[in-house]
């Protein structure tokens, strides 16, 4: 089942088109990576899903219902630009945001306590945000985003501003939330976190959706059928021009295109040349796919 179904969504501002005919399905329980360079239209899409702004055309369905303000309590949003009331105490602030999402006062209190315990930050309760460090404030911001237990969580660059320890903490929280069946939309430039966390991805470039699907699916689509072979050759090896090769000691590392052959046929050929120490397909990283996609679409 898809928690979010976006069909033919378009949005134009006064001077430019921000989104052009976007179609997307976000499966329930997935971690969905939203990629794209700056200014591609990601934030606009996120704002439309959060009902901060309206689309010009197209429709969004949340749990098969047309998106409506009544769905607000089921969506959590961590904007890229973080902000909290500087002069407000941590406790008051979290209660305020929880209640704004429709929780009762008692519910809000117990949930805030739960999260303060979980992250072991009960002692911050009476502190004002302006007295906290940036990383500490980020944690509070994260709690404010998930406090009302949304079914759909939209995180815009969630790792920016965190040191590696805290980034790991947040990463684990995200994985834990997924275990609970919460769907997470992750918008980020960090391709390594996309590879680590996401099952599904979509790439937006110049207001258009240029790529979408399961992470492995996408990666397979972009494989070049090139194999990496580590070989200890018998005698002198005559390397063809189209093969890349690096010699390290008595080993030679080759990148060999498969061409019309099957992997087994290639392996047999290699065995004939010498001792095969390693044989694997080169699958492009998301970073490579990202850069390649952006470049190819920019030159069109």
């Amino acid at each position: 089942m898809n928690i979010l179904e976006i069909s033919h969504l378009s949005k134009a501002f006064e001077n430019h088109v921000a989104l052009k005919d976007i179609n997307l399905s976000i499966p329930k329980g997935s971690i969905f990576g939203l990629l794209g360079p700056n200014g591609a239209g990601k934030t606009t899409l996120i704002r439309i899903i959060n009902q901060i702004i309206d689309a010009n055309e197209g429709e969004i369905f949340f749990r098969n219902e047309k998106l409506h303000p009544k769905h607000i309590p089921f969506i959590g949003y961590l904007p890229e630009e973080r902000g909290l009331y500087k002069k407000m105490k941590v406790w008051d602030q979290l209660i305020f945001f929880a209640r704004l999402k429709g929780m009762s006062l008692d519910e809000a209190k117990s949930k805030v306590n739960f999260w303060l315990d979980k992250l072991a930050i009960q002692t911050w309760k009476e502190k004002k945000i302006e007295d906290l460090s940036k990383g500490m404030a980020q944690k509070i911001q994260f709690i404010a985003t998930v406090i009302h237990e949304p079914e759909l969580l939209i995180l815009d660059e969630p790792f920016s501003g965190f040191d590696p320890v805290n980034a790991e903490l947040i990463k684990n929280e995200i994985l834990e939330l997924r275990e609970k069946g919460i769907t997470i939309v992750l918008s980020t430039h960090r391709m390594e976190s996309i590879e680590l966390l996401c099952d599904q991805i979509a790439m937006i470039h110049r207001s258009e959706l240029i790529l979408s699907g399961g992470l492995l699916e996408v990666k397979r689509k972009f494989r070049n059928k090139i194999y990496k072979v580590i070989l200890e050759p018998r005698g002198e090896l005559d390397v063809p021009k189209e093969w890349k090769s690096i010699t390290i000691g008595n080993q030679i590392i080759l990148e060999v295109p498969l061409q019309q052959k099957s992997p087994n046929m290639l392996l047999n050929e290699m065995i004939a040349l010498g001792e095969v120490q390693g044989f694997s397909e080169i699958i492009p990283t998301m970073e490579e796919i990202f850069i390649q996609q952006i470049k190819s679409h920019s030159y069109e």
Partner: protein, 437 residues
């Protein structure tokens, strides 16, 4: 609506809980009396400490006599002008008044020399003394005895009574009405500016710290704006309520204290020594009249009118302030949009003094008290004198329509503005935002 209430609550508590609120609330009512007290103290000290200022007078006519006062003493002599000037320069004399031979029907050439520029009251004092003497002299010359004329001088005061439709009579006194209109009008003017600015600062804070993005993903921008305006307004009302109680408390203590110390009449005499010179009969009459006048003023009606225009005016301008805050990135950018707010408020403020308090029933007063942008301030000037029902109803309904309109318009600017960062905004862009859906 529940969410609007949450925002109201947050805005209210965030401000009332601050220490600065407590200080401002307690100190502000003390500031004015304190400043006045300091000035009085300095003035009294100066009067007591100042050495007697001697002014040399040379009168070529041998006609004038100037009576010495607290600080000034006049010494008459026949020195020549140069000698008089020298005495001033050397500091022997404070000033030197030279009266040449004059014609009584056209006195001219009277000159005062001083080391410093004399105060206006001092010059006016001397002028009136000289004038009186010249007038007396001329009357004598035409055979009129000034004493006879004095005997004919009469004091007249008109007691004004208003009649309402049901034939009730009320003694009125324009001075008291003036005072009430003046005070309440200014109060609304200050309230709009002070709390309107707080709205603007609050919106800018939310916008520049990017809290706005989280807020508007949970609540409609219009609700957020409304909650903010109402919450801050409630802070203002609380503050005024506390002031009112403070003033009532302090004045009842003061009145209680002085009331025990001296009978009313002595208090009155103390308050205005000049009045004791008049017949004592008059005082008690005047006093009971003042009581009657105060009793005749419908304070409940004025208070209700005040509360209505207080809130109405605040809401009307509050949404403007919110829209300005939403359109800019920093408080310093807000200056360029302040004109549409300050101009009508200044017109209302000046109109109150120049037209409304002067003649509450003139055409200008009518229009000032009916147009929603000026009515909250201008109407208070009329309210204390009593306003025809039709005028009041028209003005109130126009104010309601007015603030609904400005809130609607501001809401549109606010909705778009709060998500705009770093882009240059001018009146043209604002107009585009209003036209957008």
């Amino acid at each position: 609506m529940n969410k609007v209430f949450l925002v109201i609550q947050r805005e209210y508590l965030a401000r009332v809980k601050k220490k600065s609120f407590l200080f401002a609330t307690i100190l502000t009512p003390l500031i004015f009396p304190t400043v006045m007290g300091i000035f009085l103290w300095i003035a009294v000290g100066e009067e007591k400490g100042a050495s007697l200022r001697i002014i040399e007078v040379v009168d070529e006519n041998n006609l004038f006599f100037l009576e010495s006062r607290d600080q000034y003493a006049f010494s008459f002599s026949k020195v020549d002008i140069e000698e008089g000037k020298r005495q001033v320069q050397s500091g022997e004399r404070f000033g030197f008044l030279y009266i040449p031979k004059i014609q009584l029907d056209n006195p001219s050439g009277i000159t005062y020399f001083g080391e410093t520029n004399p105060s206006m009251t001092f010059i006016a004092d001397m002028e009136s003394s000289l004038k009186r003497r010249i007038e007396e002299q001329r009357m004598m010359e035409s055979g009129i005895d000034p004493k006879v004329l004095d005997a004919y001088r009469t004091r007249v005061s008109i007691q004004s009574i208003t009649l309402d439709n049901s034939g009730n009579e009320k003694i009125t006194d324009a001075t008291i009405n003036y005072g009430i209109g003046f005070f309440t009008g200014i109060l609304i003017y200050i309230f709009i500016f002070v709390y309107g600015n707080q709205i603007m600062q609050g919106v800018i804070e939310e916008k520049s710290s990017r809290i706005i993005e989280i807020l508007v993903s949970s609540i409609k921008p219009f609700q957020l704006m409304l909650g903010k305006i109402i919450g801050i307004g409630a802070v203002g009302l609380t503050q005024f309520l506390i002031w009112l109680m403070l003033i009532a408390g302090v004045s009842s203590i003061v009145i209680g204290y002085f009331g025990m110390q001296m009978p009313q009449q002595t208090a009155m005499e103390l308050a205005s020594p000049a009045m004791t010179e008049m017949s004592n009969m008059n005082i008690s009459n005047d006093y009971s009249e003042i009581l009657q006048v105060i009793g005749g003023i419908d304070f409940v009606k004025i208070a209700l009118t005040f509360i209505f225009y207080f809130i109405g005016g605040y809401l009307l301008y509050g949404s403007f302030f919110a829209a300005i805050g939403a359109a800019v990135d920093t408080p310093s950018d807000a200056q360029q949009f302040m004109l549409p707010v300050t101009i009508p408020l200044l017109i209302a403020y000046l109109g109150l003094f120049v037209f409304v308090l002067d003649d509450p029933n003139s055409n200008v007063s009518f229009w000032l008290s009916v147009v929603p942008f000026t009515s909250p301030i201008a109407m208070m000037g009329r309210a204390s004198y009593g306003v025809p029902f039709f005028d009041l109803a028209l003005s109130m309904s126009l104010l309601i329509v007015g603030f609904l309109f400005t809130t609607w318009m501001a809401g549109k600017i606010y909705k778009i503005g709060i998500l705009m960062h770093g882009s240059k905004v001018n009146y043209k862009t604002l107009w585009k935002w209003i036209k957008m859906n």
